[in-house]
């Protein structure tokens, strides 16, 4: 957003801000586990520790579309949705803000607005955090997702012994106003931090090239290495496929609930219909579904590639399949064919 106000906040001020928010709502921050950072709930009194934080292992999508969530509770003659808690998320990286913007288009756009996701997004505060350096598998530099202009309420950029803060929405301004003694207004924009990614993906004409390359042998080759474990789809910040699962309450047979559970197109059962027929039975069809959804179908439907260059699918892949490498091969073969 242009025209939003700028502020500065001290590191200690950020701690106080998160502490105060955590008394009113559920606050998620990056927390280091045995291996990686992930978004975890911050309780009042907990302190933020993000020295060495690059990005979370799993994307912030999991806050807005949890793995398993009750969305409806049946009673005798009605079905009700449970109330939605207020949340704030601190530390979302720019690439993941881009991913949330894509998820919003998918879940809230087109013919229908998905109410559960919509309510969660409405009742949440996005506090993004600009990157200082690129992670091992990042390629946001070539995707145009290393910086962000919209989709956040507040954007934090490290600066001196504190942060520069840009307000991106009314909601963001309100938080500043409510905690005004922690913020100091400034006219200066955040100092640009240039980050250098080791990996890159050439996206020029990529959807068109992908369209031409649907019958390429490359997909067979990727499928030959892929283990169908679904780690790529599990860790992708723009993957949103789900199942609606129904559960009964054994203690109270009049009650039942519907859960929305994340589901993954890399699994065989995903395209199964009644009677047992599976439409994407071959692994190469499922591999293609992932690559094509990211690099062609998503572009056709939402006007943006569904890959934001976060590199998680590369980090998580047990077979070391690297989307930037495969795209390089696709482009090469396409160039030779011409």
């Amino acid at each position: 957003m242009t025209g939003g106000s700028f502020y500065v906040i001290k590191k200690s001020g950020l701690q106080k801000l998160l502490d105060s928010l955590s008394r009113r709502m559920t606050v998620f921050v990056p927390v280091k586990g045995p291996d990686d950072y992930n978004f975890r709930e911050m309780k009042p009194g907990n302190s933020l520790n993000i020295d060495g934080y690059e990005n979370t292992e799993f994307p912030p999508r999991m806050i807005f579309m949890p793995d398993r969530e009750t969305i409806l509770e049946y009673e005798k003659n009605s079905a009700k949705a449970p109330a939605e808690a207020r949340t704030a998320v601190f530390g979302i990286r720019p690439c993941d803000v881009h991913a949330l913007n894509i998820l919003d288009k998918v879940m809230l756009g087109h013919d229908y607005r998905e109410e559960h996701y919509g309510k969660k997004r409405e009742r949440s505060v996005v506090m993004a955090l600009a990157c200082r350096k690129a992670g091992e598998n990042c390629f946001c530099g070539s995707m145009g997702t290393d910086a962000v202009k919209e989709g956040f309420d507040l954007l934090f950029t490290e600066q001196g012994d504190g942060y520069h803060v840009a307000a991106g929405s009314e909601k963001g301004e309100r938080i500043v106003a409510e905690n005004k003694r922690l913020f100091r207004k400034t006219d200066d924009e955040a100092k640009k931090i240039r980050i250098r990614c080791k990996k890159n993906m050439n996206i020029e004409n990529l959807p068109e090239i992908m369209k031409d390359m649907r019958d390429s042998k490359i997909w067979q080759d990727v499928a030959g290495r892929c283990l169908s474990c679904a780690s790529c789809t599990f860790s992708c910040p723009t993957c949103y496929c789900f199942s609606l699962t129904h559960e009964s309450d054994i203690a109270n047979p009049d009650r039942a609930r519907v859960l929305r559970e994340m589901d993954y197109c890399m699994l065989v059962r995903f395209s199964r219909v009644a009677g047992g027929f599976v439409f994407r039975k071959e692994r190469n069809e499922r591999v293609k579904q992932f690559f094509y959804h990211k690099l062609l179908y998503g572009y056709n439907n939402e006007g943006a590639l569904h890959c934001v260059g976060c590199g998680r699918c590369i980090s998580e892949c047990m077979a070391k399949i690297d989307i930037t490498e495969e795209v390089r091969k696709v482009r090469e073969e396409h160039g030779r064919k011409k």
Partner: protein, 279 residues
């Protein structure tokens, strides 16, 4: 932005009657518990709704009652999985949860003035039955009508009783065939496409609509093309496992299309240009 808000919240409907079509198929007549729901529910033949059993699940099923009937809706269900299995055991007075209707049905208004060929296979017949009722009610607005229906065997045929109300309708010809004959069947034997040879179809004047298993529709399309029917005049209802019904969950995607919102009824002209294998 989006036109409709969806929370997957179904409304309860009571089973008014259960009609056993054969060993594996039953037709349920349902009426919504709330009078408002009964008045507001309207659909186009070919559209589907999600039919649910609390605590078990939901299944996407095409509505097969006449679309002008507002007192009840009907669905024919083949026992195939958890939900249809649970519904199979239900009786008059039990509650079924319904949300919808969803998707794009058959283009009945666009087809006015044209000759129409309907081709059904197996449990693909019920949605087309709703089309036939519409055509019969508006008989003068359409040209000649052929209804071709193929089933595995005599036992597999559905709507044996309902079909009777379509006999005697002017210029409506219904042909039925079964793959494996038996002593109680004295009609045609063979695949539904075998019925094509006897038709006197003028390809340019004709619109075709079909619903059935993927393999059947593949061959039906080839046959219809041979009769000179244009790819954009061939309408096929595709099957996928729709779960959300609103184009989000991804289960019914074919390339960049969603069967639940872009279909389930597609023109063959659209199907042949899809970015992923359809069948």
């Amino acid at each position: 932005m989006a036109e409709k808000n969806e929370s997957y919240r179904p409304v309860p409907a009571k089973i008014l009657s259960v009609m056993k079509e054969n060993e594996r198929v039953k037709t349920f007549r349902l009426s919504f518990v709330s009078r408002e729901d009964n008045a507001s529910f309207s659909f186009t033949p070919g559209q589907f709704a999600m039919f649910g059993v609390a605590g078990v699940g939901e299944a996407p099923i095409s509505i097969c009652s006449p679309s002008f009937e507002h007192k009840y809706i009907e669905v024919s269900i083949r026992k195939a999985g958890n939900v249809t299995g649970a519904m199979f055991g239900m009786k008059k007075g039990d509650t079924v949860w319904v949300r919808g209707p969803y998707g794009r049905g058959f283009p009945l208004d666009e087809c006015k003035g044209r000759d129409i060929v309907l081709v059904a296979g197996g449990i693909g017949f019920p949605p087309l039955a709703s089309v036939i009722d519409h055509l019969a009610r508006h008989r003068k607005e359409y040209g000649r009508i052929w209804v071709l229906y193929g089933a595995r065997d005599f036992e597999d045929l559905v709507f044996r009783k309902r079909s009777k109300r379509w006999t005697g309708i002017e210029n409506l010809k219904m042909l039925v065939t079964v793959e494996s004959p038996c002593t109680s069947w004295n009609g045609c034997t063979g695949m539904v496409t075998d019925l094509f040879s006897g038709l006197d179809v003028d390809g340019k004047r004709t619109v075709a609509m079909s619903c059935g298993p993927p393999v059947m529709m593949k061959f039906v399309t080839l046959g219809l093309q041979k009769m000179g029917i244009q790819d954009n005049d061939i309408y096929l209802s595709l099957e996928r496992m729709m779960q959300c019904g609103i184009g989000k969950c991804g289960h019914c995607s074919i390339g960049d299309r969603h069967v639940c919102t872009d279909g389930p009824v597609f023109r063959y002209g659209e199907i042949k240009n899809m970015l992923e294998r359809v069948w």
